[in-house]
Amino acid sequence: MRFANALALKKAMIDAAEAIIAAEPELTRIDSVIGDGDHGIGMKTGFSVLREQLAATVFPTPYELFHASGLCLVKCMGGSSGVLFGTLFISGLDVIKGKEALNGADIVAFLTKGIQGVKSRGRAKPGDKTMVDALLPAQSAMELALKSTDDIGEILKAAETGALSGVEATKNMVSRLGRSKNFREQVLGWPDPGAISVSILLGGLAKSLSQGL
């Protein structure tokens, strides 16, 4: 599809939330090894509330949808990732203000601004083994895809692929931020759980927005 309105984007967010919820055991397992073990539960809690809240609300435009989504994650997740996933949806809001529907370029611009927000809030540098290492390749891949297609599904599919390559890359990184810092070299070989969550979220959005017209 070339344009996604609030309703299509809401369905996509709900589908992505379901993918996150389903991934809870895997996220928990990995964060238990290299982090403090709460990432899976935190994501599941936040995205469960998000799903209910989105399902129960009518959003006039994408702006209201993403504003509500970001705040919802901040409100009910806590921890680092509540803020970071909230930031992902809040920081880019001004670029979609007033739009009835978003095209591929809007989505790329919105997510790019969100990714910059996550980067500057979290102060993570590439290679620090965080979700940023999934977000940055996702961003490059989206931008590249946008040059050859205007299909939102395909653009987000590219983002997911970029994120997945980032997840692979985090296996060879040593954490420098947050709790998993404590485990130092022991984290080698394990991917970063936040990066995995990013790939699942983008994958969920891509799949949902590839369906239909």
Binding site: V74, K75, C76, G78, G79, G82, G122, N182
Partner: protein, 318 residues
Amino acid sequence: MHWFSEGREYYARKWFTGMLQAHPGRWRLFDSQIASATLVSSQDVVDRVAVIISSGGSDGPWSPGFVGPDLADAVVVGAPFTAPNAYAIYEVAKALDTGRGVLLLYNNFMGDYLNNDMAEELLRLEGHRAIQIPVHDDMGMARGEARENRGGRSGSALMTRIAAAASYKGLSLDEMATLLKKANSRMATLCVSVNTENNLVTFGRGFSDEPGFETGTMGMREAAEETIKLLTEDLSPKPDEQVLLMVNPLRLAGYDEAYVMGNYLYESLEAKYPILRMNVGAYIHILDGYGFTVTLLCVDEELRPYLEGTINGDGFII
């Protein structure tokens, strides 16, 4: 270690409810939109900066015990070992801001920073002024890096006391920030943990059990001397500064041993620098094992008025 009947999310609320039942009139629960627990001092914020502290859920008394008359105005606490919620911080800050602004004070850990930073952004979006002060006193962490990268430790107890005094004295938000940044830069905490079976002492063990940077087999007196040496090397107290010494036992050391260690530290420090005061107590009970965290704060003429007298908190005198 925690033993629950209900979920983790009820923990801080039950904790605070217990506090209200034990000390009626000292605090009130803030009516949050979300499942987070916020405790507010019964002493209203009237024409002064609101001081808001926050932390993950852990033993205490810091953070919740440091809210109350002549101490901080509110605290937001997360589930056990989970950062406090940004939205809860934003909510209570918004409610307490009298127009003079809000000071957000917390220990410098990633989750705490992220949530306070987000809270500051939400406040700014609605026209409230907030300044964050992440306490970074742990000299065992981020060795060789900038001071600002260190984690927070027991120093947050002293910082809260200074922030409250500055607010009650009517300083502006900017003046408070300047004052607190100075205190933050003139303070260091060292964790001294001990295996009492073989007297193996580890200096600089981290908040999350990160290994220390120096070990040795010794008794209390020698460990106290080494502690004072490491801390004063880190801070180089200046001729116009007095030194405040704070001793906080780890979980397996008692009230008795904190004072015995305090006595050794006091005598070692006294020989070199003028001592303003010694605070001994379980201000923050953050780490299992036997030992102490020892904090030095260098106090000049400007800082001294905010450290005068002592304040009776719940479970401590500071």
